[in-house]
């Protein structure tokens, strides 16, 4: 992958929240026009990586470049200009609760584009049709199921025709049908519109089906990278454990704790 080809380039990033170290020398690159997956056990900082890419957090050292610009050095107006080119799908949808589904999708257009009402309506209905929720345009977010809210959020994320779409755990809590719909949507958005996609997830099967390139994070850095087939062939214990979903391996299932037996025998628990 050449440097010019990378839309997002994360180089040697160190990041800590208080005393908790999240990244120690993280290197990740997302290629233009590809679906890149970022996988890893819970708590490995996948969402933190997104925050660094979107300029919400700043790394203590290292460089995060998006479209060739160092995100940490951008002033607010420049950062906002950059964000107009990037769509982000939140884990919970993050719809604006006082606006209807239609107005939620129309929100970025009303804020950034001075469009005549009929054009705006056509655009919004087109995006809602793409996610299968044109009929729900008049509903309020409180009336939607979790999967529907995520699809509305996706319509909102693509309404400005972004060059990059970032999905934060798009499959969590979805039924198999909604999950299949979202997988197909991500693929078709990527294929038809050429949108560069970054998918943060730990659903190995769904990711394997669609990602062109995957990164596996663990303990603050990339432990494996490559196509899903390459990751499946990887021999490292941590990769094999994650890809096959077994509780025993280098990644502990239990949060660090004192000895179970001793704790049960203690009269009071501090």
């Amino acid at each position: 992958m050449s440097a010019d080809d990378a839309v997002v380039d994360v180089r040697d990033v160190h990041y800590a929240i208080g005393r908790h170290t999240v990244f120690t020398g993280l290197n990740v690159r997302m290629r233009r026009g590809a679906i890149t997956a970022v996988m890893g056990p819970s708590g490995t900082g996948k969402t933190t990586l997104l925050r660094l890419i979107m300029g919400q957090s700043v790394a203590q050292s290292g460089v995060v470049q998006v479209f060739g610009a160092d995100v940490a050095r951008l002033a607010r107006p420049e950062l906002y200009r950059l964000r107009r080119r990037v769509g982000l799908l939140f884990q919970n949808g993050a719809l604006l609760t006082d606006l209807s589904v239609f107005e939620n999708v129309a929100f970025p257009l009303r804020e950034h584009a001075d469009l005549p009402e009929p054009v705006l309506r056509e655009l919004v209905l087109m995006k809602l049709q793409a996610v299968g929720l044109r009929g729900a345009a008049g509903l309020m977010p409180a009336e939607l199921s979790g999967g529907m809210a995520r699809r509305v959020a996706l319509a909102r994320a693509i309404v400005m025709d972004p060059e990059v779409l970032i999905y934060d755990e798009p499959f969590v809590g979805l039924d198999p049908i909604s999950m299949g719909v979202i997988v197909r949507l991500i693929q078709s958005l990527n294929r038809l519109l050429g949108i560069t996609s970054i998918v943060v997830s730990h659903d190995v099967r769904e990711i394997s089906a669609m990602a062109h390139y995957s990164y596996l994070l663990s303990e603050g850095k990339v432990v494996a990278e490559g196509s899903p087939a390459e990751l499946n062939r990887e021999q490292q214990d941590v990769v094999r454990q994650f890809m096959s979903g077994t509780p025993d391996g280098p990644v502990p299932f239990h949060y660090p704790a004192p000895d179970y037996f001793e704790q049960l025998l203690q009269p009071t628990d501090a």
């Binding site: 979107m54 919400q56 607010r76 906002y80 200009r81 964000r83 107009r84 990037v86 982000l88 939140f90 919970n92 993050a94 719809l95 604006l96 609760t97 929100f107 970025p108 804020e111 950034h112 909102r156 400005m160």
Partner: protein
């Protein structure tokens, strides 16, 4: 930690908070002008903070005026000057009770609603989502609410005053038998533009203070249920103390 260093760190915390509120005020003020270009956002908030507080403001104004009528009449009767009831009620309300009580009610009714609304928007990632859509939440959410509160507060205080004076008249004239002509001519003779200005400026300052505190606490609330609850409580308590403190300062300044 020793007592001295504890007090020192508390004082430093308070100063840091004051600085942070002042910086936030500058950021909000910077966004107020672009927001004025979209009056629909501000009008909706004037409706929220103002029109929706009308019932409680009018009810309280009426009762405060009636109590003022009763107490004032009792007191003035001792000196045989019950005809001056109009002066006592009108000046007391316009200069002092109107702005202060309206501000306290405003903090309880509109301030809490502003704070918890913004706090919940933060807790449910709505503010972050706006940031990600390159929309500044301070411009879209905070500034219209601040302006709405700032504009609504003097209007509410004016309505409180009017209803209050009517309440005093109700007691003084209808129940206690003061001549209506006497009551109103006393009001007309005693209340000058300076008194109205004093009340108006007070209500502007209180409106700015209460609205700023509410949006600040909401915007900086911890994104949890307990965090939003705590921020709402802090809004009311700090607003109440600040309003009374500012009232003393302003009253002293107008003397």
């Amino acid at each position: 930690m020793s007592g001295v260093s504890q007090r020192r760190s508390m004082a430093l915390d308070a100063l840091a908070k004051l600085g942070s509120v002042a910086l936030f005020l500058l950021r909000v003020l910077g966004q107020c002008i672009p927001v004025l270009a979209r009056p629909r956002l501000v009008i909706a908030q004037i409706y929220n903070a103002g029109a929706r507080s009308l019932v409680i403001i009018m009810l309280c104004g009426l009762f405060v005026g009636m109590v003022l009528g009763l107490q004032g009449y009792q007191l003035l009767e001792r000196f045989g000057s019950e005809s001056a009831l109009g002066v006592v009620a009108a000046l007391g309300l316009i200069k002092e009770l109107g702005p202060v009580l309206t501000a306290l009610l405003f903090a309880g009714r509109a301030g809490t609603s502003l704070c918890s609304e913004i706090g919940l928007m933060g807790a449910t990632d709505q503010l972050a989502a706006m940031e990600m859509m390159a929309v500044d939440p301070v411009r879209h959410v905070v500034a219209p609410r601040f302006l709405g509160g700032f504009i609504a507060m003097p209007l509410l205080a004016a309505i409180f005053n009017c209803v209050g004076i009517y309440g005093a008249q109700l007691v003084g004239v209808t129940m206690m038998g003061i001549q209506p002509g006497t009551f109103w001519s006393q009001v007309q003779g005693a209340v000058g533009l300076r008194d109205v200005n004093e009340g108006f400026i007070k209500s502007l300052v209180f409106g700015a203070a209460c609205s700023l505190l509410a949006v600040y606490e909401g915007y900086h609330a911890e994104p949890t249920a307990a965090g939003v609850g705590l921020a709402t409580t802090r809004t009311v308590v700090t607003s109440a103390v600040l309003v009374l403190l500012l009232d003393y300062v302003l009253t002293a300044a107008f003397l």
